[in-house]
């Protein structure tokens, strides 16, 4: 029958229209500012810097090694290394970023900086409502704006952050063991156990 195909198609459309009123599955959109789709854990948009402890600037994990600056594909990270060393969260003297800026109008949210960071210092945020009417000041984030606590990181990416925390705790325990071994006189130093720990 001529037109039969069209009628079949119209029947499908009609079924969808009717089901849209009764079935939750057919309602595929939400009214955005009032209703929100919950974000999945893996969501990423722009990077932030993780700090330990209370004081954001003292606790920054970043040691200004500038690997992320070199690896960043669109080159949107700007780092100035400090000339002096400050103690980090564990009390070890480290360099720190005198300037750490990310131009998030250039950033393409690729997560390469997170992957290459050997210190677990930079992570991806999930904040997405960032509109501003100041393109140059408002979208160039400095280290004060980028610094967010480890608790916040645990809040937005719980699984990933738990793995990172375990890894860091193991590393710190090893470093502490090494430091303890180094301060002790000869007997501990000749034993092979701390050596293998240092290599790992």
């Amino acid at each position: 029958m001529l037109g039969g195909g069209i009628l079949k198609g119209l029947a499908v459309t009609a079924r969808n229209v009717v089901e849209g009123f009764v079935s939750k599955e057919r309602l595929t959109t939400v009214q955005y500012p009032e209703e929100r789709v919950p974000q999945v854990e893996a969501t990423r948009d722009f990077p932030f810097l993780v700090f330990d402890g209370e004081d954001p600037m003292a606790g920054l994990r970043c040691v200004a090694c500038q690997i992320c600056e070199k690896e960043c594909p669109p080159k949107c990270i700007y780092i100035d290394k400090s000339s002096d060393k400050k103690p980090d969260a564990t009390g070890k003297p480290q360099f720190y970023p005198a300037r750490f800026d990310i131009d998030i109008s250039v950033c393409m949210s690729c997560q390469i900086c997170v992957e290459v960071c050997p210190f677990e210092a930079i992570k991806m945020d999930v904040e997405f409502e960032l509109s501003t009417n100041d393109r140059f000041g408002g979208l160039l984030y400095d280290k004060h704006k980028l610094a967010k606590s480890n608790e916040y990181y645990n809040h937005v990416h719980p699984t990933e952050a738990a793995a990172v925390d375990t890894k860091l705790a193991v590393e710190r325990a090893k470093a502490a063991a090494r430091a303890a071994a180094a301060t002790q006189p000869k007997p501990a130093a000749v034993s092979p156990a701390p050596e293998s720990g240092a290599q790992a």
Partner: protein, 388 residues
């Protein structure tokens, strides 16, 4: 044509020929770059006699982003997110093709689990690309809204899966040389299985909506016919080539990844017209569902990345490699030359959309201007990949 009168040989290609047409019989129209049906910033300089097309010149380059040169100045790792932005509908297959080229260069072995994940993700990519390609094609015919929204409804479910795994809906940046970036999050496979249960019903519905539609048949059958000989000579690949009846699917020909382990058929067309290209995509979606079901069943446990693979500070040995795979739009290839430095010496993309677009004029000559829009839609181009 009066080109001879101007002293210009008839086959000289100039950017914009000035035609002195005293009789006023031909009309030159510039379709695009902001024509809604051109799938991006693409311009067609069309010359018409009445409604019949007598010449069509594609004008590209509006979305040129210097992709290849940027990649030559970036590290091997840093190029992966840029490949997402080539064909932004199918970022995962782009990732895979690039990683395949680097793996050949460096000799990394991809673990089994990563191979299966790659197959699963690239078939999901194929599904959502074909669903939206069909939707856009029908939209070009004037079925404004309904079919494309049905396609996008399903596509959105697949993109949700991509987001749960990779963190981003479209710019996935997921594959790495030697494997994949992260393992599946908890519950992802169950979500995928739930989706797989609903997909056949969606394909049924999508087919019922369109396949026997008389208007669609009248608009597409016998329109934009491409001969197998021309398609092969022009290097056309993907659904475009298979619609002409040439059995060439890199999943079967190269057997890259773990594709030889799966049972699936390669749908072939007969006439090479717009309808065949449309049907091939519908049938390929069904085959993708088959591959996905097998891959989910066989998915092994294990590592997801080669322990030898080095991402940061990676310097492959001098040499060259070409990695290619069957992207949803055709053969996608990456050609790399390494000189031992952290950046590729030469980086070249063989984009399927661009090559498939070259025979647009041959398909459109003699057709109506309204059909040119459909023919372009059936090529399924993404301008990010054409212009690079």
């Amino acid at each position: 044509m009066n080109t001879e009168l101007l002293g210009v040989p008839p086959d000289t290609i100039t950017r914009r020929e000035v035609i002195y047409d005293q009789e006023g019989e031909t009309l030159e129209i510039s379709m695009g770059p902001h024509h809604p049906s051109t799938h991006g910033v693409f311009r067609m300089d069309v010359r018409l006699e009445g409604e019949r097309i007598v010449r069509l010149k594609p004008v590209i380059g509006y979305l040129h982003r210097n992709h290849e040169k940027i990649a030559e100045g970036t590290t091997y790792l840093g190029s992966i997110p840029y490949t997402d932005r080539l064909d932004y509908f199918c970022s995962l297959t782009n990732n895979w093709a690039y990683c395949m080229a680097v793996e050949q260069l460096a000799g990394f072995e991809v673990p089994d689990r990563a191979q299966y994940l790659r197959v699963i993700l690239s078939e999901l990519t194929r599904l959502q690309n074909h669903a939206s390609a069909v939707g856009f094609l029908v939209q070009d015919m004037g079925a404004s809204g309904t079919p494309i929204m049905y396609a996008f409804r399903e596509r959105e479910k697949i993109l949700d899966l991509f987001e749960a795994l990779t963190g981003s809906r479209m710019m996935c940046n997921y594959m790495r040389f030697g494997g994949c970036r992260v393992d599946l999050p908890a519950g992802w496979i169950d979500q995928l299985k739930a989706l797989m249960k609903t997909l056949p019903a969606f394909l049924e519905e999508f087919e019922k909506l369109l396949v026997s539609n008389e208007i669609l048949m009248a608009r597409t059958q016998g329109v934009g016919v491409l001969s197998a000989k021309l398609a092969v000579n022009a290097g056309v690949t993907g659904p475009m080539l298979r619609a002409t009846g040439v059995n060439y699917d890199l999943r079967k020909v190269d057997g890259y990844g773990f594709y030889p382990r799966f049972e699936f058929k390669v749908p072939l067309g007969e006439h090479g017209d717009v309808y065949d290209r449309y049907m091939i995509r519908v049938l390929e979606m069904r085959e993708s569902v088959k591959i996905l079901n097998q891959a989910i069943e066989q998915l092994p446990e294990g590592p997801i990345i080669d322990p030898k693979a080095k991402l940061r500070g990676f310097r492959p040995k001098p040499g060259e490699s070409y990695g290619r795979l069957e992207a949803p739009k055709g053969e996608l290839g990456f050609y790399l030359i390494s000189d031992g430095s952290p950046n590729p010496y030469r980086y070249r993309v063989r984009p399927p959309s661009f090559v498939n677009l070259t025979i647009l004029e041959d398909m459109c000559l003699g057709a109506n201007i309204a059909d040119a829009v459909i023919i372009l839609g059936s090529v399924d181009i993404v301008l990010g990949e054409v212009d690079r």
